[in-house]
Subunit: 676 residues, 2 copies
């Protein structure tokens, strides 16, 4: 490697300078590089392969960074990176690193850090607006795929682009997967639009008032150059619809999808990571990847497989032969539990706003589930309102997606779901601290869910508790919305190691809290001690176990401490009875959570103890506790909170984050001993 | 009144039983009732007038509540309420009450509580899904207006409806305001679709794969009955596009909009509340209402005028001649400050995702602002990403909307704005506790904004501070996203009463916090005392002033207390230096905030004091403070938090909420004295 044309490309100027007749050769070299890279390193290859010619043509015709190109969800930006000074990362990945997302800190050619779908058109509108206000003449280009187009904000962007006017070029990368796998009524008309060579109506872009061009062969670099030259400097928004072939260049991809899938599967089987799409649409690897077996499969790749960039260096499942990670493990168990009820409970419906496989919702399950399963496409907002509607009519919906993507439907969570108090169940996958990139962090879910009124938030610490909670939330006994934070790898590891044995066994010591709302409103006393109580929420429960064990040891200077361990089981309601009981014979209460401290759970405990300590009646403090606070505490309780900082972190290994935040046995133990 | 046909309608069955030829007379009676009601009580009359015939036809043809009708954003549901047992509330409003929103607690004919736009199609999909899973045959109908159609989730709903299949009837109420005022490229094609009698392409509904019918005269009840009968029991989703005339029945509304505007203005001038739309689109009253003068105008009505239902009994501005409320007062001042800079700062752009008038962005301002002002329609998600794009390219966007509507774009706030650290300014109107209905509460904004990393959250306590903050956030000195919580009526009242005098005067005592990020990272010591420190955030600053004054008084049993008053100025960063300094000579720290306590600001203060009290180094606690925590506190500090409970409240007067939450001088003072 390194001897092809690509190695001579150090920036867009080199693409400009090439004789036009050498562009196909450059594309071929890029394609070879991508395939080789994919074989060894994995990554998001399939859709990038489809975009080789378009990206070369973009950099041939436009003048980045003066002209600004926004890649939706960082979609298909590998080739862009290759052409903007970062080819070495693909040609010689042993010695050069590159992130999976566009990032202005990495290159002046990258406009934004993006990992959530559908925002490119709106962002580009903003770039264009400033240009127009300043009288500039640079081009602004948004590149968006067909799967991304189904997300809410993308439609808002289309609708506003035409209204705004001025130069704005929307490159719509349509890789022909629409009918097969995209979800939504627009994909049929879109397929007919392609079949007509871009001439037939209804044309959704025309319906949004946009000018429109069509390029049938989106892998013909010279045709693309002509198409982009025709719109360069255009004085109004235009959609350039390019019909590309995903996976082009994989051994047999050009012929049919099945063959491409086999090829992708080959790559996967080689221990590398096969391609998947920045959209959730089926790509060439889809068929090969989704049976939930233990091999490396495309949907494993990304933190939320299928629509964000794969970062192979951070994914613990990226090596073949490893056991399933927690996401798939618990997801599959949940689906199996639900599936047994489908025949007799027609109202039980699993909803996935895309990327089901990454959550253990296997292809085989989906096929068996039939109408009990709905993939809504990349449409979290619709999915939540849809779930509320199902529940209002008496059904029991179960909506599964990533913590980071639930953020996209915060308003529906609050309004359509919580305010309307409809009994939908949300399975929150990937919540908590992790080594995820900065666009897919799960560290914010407790602060988001836990502060929505009327939403029950459960944090199981064992498979038994998880399945019990799911059974309850989907039963007639539950009349309101419930989010269940699916256990993470910390719990799975502890279960596999035998550290957690039947944690679901109820050992409740307090009966001052009503159970009418939820069987888990009472904290579970996993181990009764004195002096120090460790309240270890969800994924930090194994840490709580280890801290208690460490405290029990004498360390020479100090005698062992007989600490109490509490499994709160949920983070939506304060169990005032248990907190008050703990105050009787505990001086120190420690909260552990694997999420952002600010706005999170532990601060509620701290505030409860602060405000419960006086009798005069802080009514809000009374009000917010699920039991009543009444009366002063016997003596002050010192509360320590451990959890994440309010910050974005980018691919920092979890062990390093835990060290940073004090979430280690040593640091928690040391802090406690220093107070005694 | 009460002698017309309407008084004989006690439920949909009575509509079914009428001879068909009496339906027009019923409609006329309803229209008369609505106009009379509007003259006396105000409310959301214009769009309801347009929907009289359609609603009668819906209840004539369909069988509610078996057939389920979902009114988007509770849009235009007055007539629905009249026909479902609640006519007395309109015929005899002195003796019967009715809410402005649909609400299942009010009637079995209301499917959901809705006050945010665009969710009806997705909700209806859910209702239909459960029906289909159970083998039911009832009809499911979503009623949505043309302005609502521009919001993100509405498009997701359209796209998913066709995919889902089965009976689903989307009644699209198009009241011909599209070209004039609706924002977005789809409205031009939509106008041409109307002009063609529903026959031309592009038809946006066809583009989403939906069946489609058109009714040119959407105020012809018999034509509507025929149209609805034709789709009753249909086996697939269909859009029934009805072309209605908003304000029909107002004195001269039928002739032209200008006349209707005058008529509406007459109503307004009569001391009542004129109509506005559940969408933000101009309606017949629009022209009359938006100059920011002191008369009663349509955009004043609703909590967030223009698109939610007006609840006249709760709006302090609903009587003519009253001074401007805080929203408009501070909004107008902000716009005036920005406008002075437009000529020399082309990058300065004000963005309003609809309902500008309610935030003091007057029609006259908008006209003068020209390209420096953008109304994006009801598209909060686009608006935030758009703002981030403007900022990335070097502009300085200012985005103004309601606290409750910022929830709709939470993910863009976090990802496109905060993570990308683009210098956009958000003006957060209507934040805090209020007597709002349960769909428009501002009580959740501190917990939402304050827990987003990298977002500076400012809470000015005076007009000077507000304008200084706006000047800074839109200047080159600021390089990141800033939300400014626009002061509320508590502060405006205190300013008018002379209680707050130049609160912007910096009297900072701590210099341990770097000011490089934001000049307001340091808390302002408004009054230096000892023993007790009152930290009064934003709108609670006047309460803080009064509590300090009350504490200074001897009450017979107790001597006066020389308390400290702190104006935190912001809720995004802990000022550890000031908190530590307070600990030197204060035993009690009290936080006051007008928002939900859980996840809010005061709990961060409590947690800081809890965790700063030990030296062993809780790293996250250190990390989250904008200064370093280092070292133990000289002695324990008791923190009390006052703020709202985690609950939805519905039109409870603010004074009652303050009493409930302990946010009164008496309760705060009593709590403090009980601890001393």
């Amino acid at each position: 490697m390194g001897e092809g044309m690509l190695s001579a490309i150090h920036g867009p100027a080199d693409v400009h300078d090439l004789p036009a007749d050498q562009l196909p050769e450059l594309c071929a070299d890029i394609r070879r590089t991508l395939v080789a890279y994919g074989h060894v390193h994995g990554g998001h290859i399939g859709s990038n392969l489809g975009m080789v010619e378009a990206t070369v043509a973009l950099h041939r015709v436009f003048d980045s960074p003066r002209d600004r190109i926004v890649f939706d969800v960082s979609h298909q930006s590998y080739v862009h990176k290759m052409l903007t000074g970062r080819a070495a990362a693909y040609l010689d990945p042993e010695h050069h690193d590159v992130t999976g997302f566009t990032n202005p800190d990495e290159s002046e050619h990258d406009q934004f850090v993006l990992g959530h779908t559908g925002t490119s058109i709106s962002l580009a509108c903003g770039l264009a607006k400033t240009r127009d206000m300043r009288g500039g003449h640079e081009n602004v280009i948004a590149v968006i795929g067909d799967g991304s187009l189904s997300s809410a904000i993308a439609f808002e962007g289309l609708n506003n682009a035409a209204e705004q006017g001025g130069n704005l070029i929307i490159v719509f990368n349509d890789n022909e997967m629409s009918i097969a796998e995209d979800h939504g009524g627009m994909y049929g008309p879109l397929a007919r639009l392609r079949a007509s060579g871009g001439t037939t109506e209804p044309n959704i872009f025309h319906a949004f008032g946009l000018d429109y061009r069509y390029v049938e062969d989106g892998n013909d670099v010279l045709a693309l150059v002509r198409a982009f030259e025709a719109v360069r400097g255009i004085d109004h928004p235009v959609v350039v619809h390019i019909h590309t072939r995903k996976g082009l260049g994989l051994p047999v991809a050009a012929d049919d999808d099945t063959a491409a899938a086999s090829a992708a599967s080959d790559i996967a089987a080689g221990g590398a990571i096969a391609a998947t799409d920045a959209t959730h649409t089926a790509d060439a690897t889809h068929a090969a990847n989704d049976d939930g077996d233990e091999t490396v499969i495309a949907e494993d790749l990304a933190i939320t497989a299928g629509r964000c960039e794969a970062n192979h260096w951070q994914n613990p499942d990226s090596a073949a032969g490893k056991p399933l990670g927690a996401r798939k493990h618990y997801g599959q168990l949940a689906m199996a539990a639900l599936e047994r009820r489908f025949a007799t409970e027609p109202g039980l419906v699993v909803i996935s706003p895309a990327t089901p496989g990454s959550n253990g919702i296997t292809r085989a399950f989906r096929e068996r589930a039939g109408r009990n399963y709905v993939d809504t496409g990349i449409t979290e907002e619709h999915a939540v309102a849809f779930a509320s509607g199902i529940a209002r009519a008496g059904g029991r919906p179960v909506l599964a997606t990533s913590a980071t993507f639930f953020q996209r439907t915060f308003d529906q969570l609050q309004q359509e779901l919580a305010l309307n108090h409809t009994p939908a169940t949300l399975l929150d996958f990937g919540g908590g601290l992790s080594g995820a990139d900065n666009t897919h962090s799960g560290a914010f879910d407790i602060a988001m869910f836990g502060n929505i009124p009327s939403l029950t938030c459960l944090a199981p610490t064992s498979v038994h508790a998880f399945l019990d909670m799911l059974a309850w939330s989907t039963s007639a006994a539950n009349d309101g919305p419930v989010v269940i934070r699916v256990p993470g790898d910390a719990i799975l590891g502890a279960e596999r190691a035998g550290e957690i044995a039947d944690a679901a066994d109820p050992a409740v010591t307090s009966d001052t809290v009503s159970t009418q709302d939820c069987p888990w409103n009472r904290y579970r006393i996993a181990r009764a001690g004195s002096q120090v109580a460790i309240l270890a929420l969800g994924n930090e429960y194994p840490l709580g176990l280890r801290v208690v064990a460490a405290l029990a040891q004498s360390d020479g200077d100090h005698a062992g401490i007989d600490a109490t361990l509490v499994d709160p089981q949920q983070f939506s309601a304060i169990d005032a009875g248990t907190l008050r009981a703990l105050a009787e014979d505990h001086r120190i209460v420690v909260t552990l959570e694997d999420g952002q401290l600010e706005g999170g759970w532990g601060e509620k405990i701290t505030a409860w103890y602060a405000n419960a300590g006086w009798a005069a009646g802080n009514r809000a403090a009374d009000h917010r506790a699920s039991g009543h606070a009444g009366g002063t505490l016997p003596h002050p309780v010192h509360v320590l909170n451990f959890g994440g900082a309010k910050e974005f972190t980018d691919r920092i290994p979890l062990a390093d984050l835990n060290e940073r935040y004090g979430l280690t046995v040593e640091q928690v133990t040391k802090a406690i001993r220093s107070l005694l």
